[in-house]
């Protein structure tokens, strides 16, 4: 089993640790560009003495100490960096299952595009602001893409408490609702569900597990706290079967037979038609 993971933050590292201990895992590829910083220490598995080193290098040491037989490659790069796209594509093509453990939207969309291109299944874990609960999504090549899921959830669920209005005087300042930290316990709870879902998905795709209840949902939310108007009680799970949206503008785009030159020519012509008259 080859795991292709992006992100080794406080949640991603827990997922990586739990997955890599599974005897079926033989190879891990990790993409993570960040350095381990003082503010990471509180919620991370690495010691304060590791501050200043790359998280990916620390993760590699961590896995090697526990599973010396696992082949592990790390890339100190941003998933959205155009320089590495061919390499990422090659690695994704070679994997059994993908793991997305990043918390920014562009990286989630980029991972989604990558995994759809190579038609490989993947999982995504998301801890909600304040650690009130979290999501684990399972994405398959013919199922909903991340755009379908994000759009569906925007319309149908309440994830967080109502946010204050933007600060018009300082438009570039941080938005307060995004900075409520989750506790390490909350992060580990959701990351553990993420790891279990990933291993189940990989076994399913390898034919080591019969299809069963996995088909009945794509997204699982698990509550960790009671939040009035959001979650009625802690420790409840809700399952959503989010279908692929026929009108999705992300996954309805399919590769065509046109060459780069044909596309460029068509684009030049279209822009010439729409240029200033």
């Amino acid at each position: 089993m080859h795991i292709f993971q992006v992100g080794a933050g406080s949640g991603g590292m827990v997922v990586l640790d739990l997955i890599s201990r599974d005897s079926g895992v033989r190879r891990v590829t990790l993409i993570e560009p960040d350095l381990y910083q003082p503010h990471n220490v509180y919620r991370h598995v690495f010691p304060p003495a590791a501050v200043g080193k790359f998280k990916a290098e620390l993760a590699k040491e961590w896995v090697r100490d526990r599973r010396p037989d696992v082949i592990m490659d790390v890339f100190l790069a941003d998933l959205t960096d155009p320089t590495y796209q061919s390499e990422f594509l090659r690695l994704a093509q070679d994997c059994t299952v993908g793991v997305c453990a990043v918390d920014n939207e562009p990286a989630k969309y980029a991972f989604d595009a990558l995994m759809r291109t190579v038609r490989k299944p993947w999982t995504l874990g998301e801890v909600l602001s304040g650690g009130i609960g979290g999501w684990v999504h399972t994405l398959t090549p013919d199922g909903a893409c991340y755009g379908c899921i994000a759009s569906y959830l925007k319309r149908t669920t309440f994830e967080e408490t109502v946010a204050p209005p933007p600060n018009y005087a300082h438009p570039d300042s941080a938005i307060p609702e995004t900075t409520v930290p989750a506790s390490k316990a909350s992060i580990e709870a959701i990351a553990s569900l993420h790891a279990i879902s990933t291993l189940r998905l990989a076994q399913l795709y390898l034919g080591q597990r019969e299809k069963s209840f996995e088909n009945s949902f794509t997204s699982l939310v698990f509550t960790l706290q009671q939040v009035p108007g959001v979650f009625e009680e802690p420790f409840r799970s809700y399952r959503f079967l989010i279908p692929r949206s026929p009108s999705c503008l992300i996954c309805s785009l399919t590769p065509g037979s046109s060459t780069k030159e044909t596309l460029d020519e068509a684009l030049d012509q279209a822009l010439a038609r729409l240029g200033p008259q």
Partner: protein, 148 residues
């Protein structure tokens, strides 16, 4: 299968070019069809971005606008600014950029929906914003509630 590059780059990846050719530019052509020439959207490249220039007349006044589709569009929402000078008002950011999507780093904080909206939706949203501005100009009250 041709190489479909993962990261979105509107003008320099196959995925970005396909999005433009099959969704965004046809939507602009439909918007322009039958419209007075002075109110049509024109599009120019600007480095890695596309800039849409157009005029809107929500009530009695005509406004000149610019909507920029950055290289990371549609994952990152379009940025719309009004070139016509405005009075300082709510929901207006630096450089007369409209506060339309409440862009945040999380899914819940971001009102832009990359899987459902096109750049023409951003033009229509700007029209609605300007209609609100004109009412605010007359009454001192913004007619729509704060984004939540």
């Amino acid at each position: 299968m041709p190489l479909l590059i993962a990261a979105m780059g509107l003008l320099d990846t196959e995925l970005g070019k396909r999005r433009l050719l099959s969704i965004e530019l046809p939507a602009i052509e439909v918007y322009n069809e039958g419209r007075d020439p002075e109110y049509r959207i024109s599009v120019v490249r600007c480095a890695g971005s596309l800039v849409l220039s157009y005029r809107l007349k929500p009530c009695h006044n005509v406004y000149q606008l610019e909507t920029r589709l950055l290289s990371s569009y549609p994952i990152v929402p379009p940025e719309t600014r009004i070139l016509t000078p405005l009075k300082h008002c709510p929901h207006l950011l630096e450089g007369q950029t409209l506060c339309l999507w409440r862009q945040g780093s999380t899914r819940a904080a971001n009102r832009w929906d990359a899987s459902q909206f096109t750049c023409v939706f951003a033009v229509l949203a700007a029209w609605r914003w300007l209609a609100c501005y004109e009412l605010w100009h007359e009454t001192g009250e913004w007619p729509l509630p704060e984004a939540k």
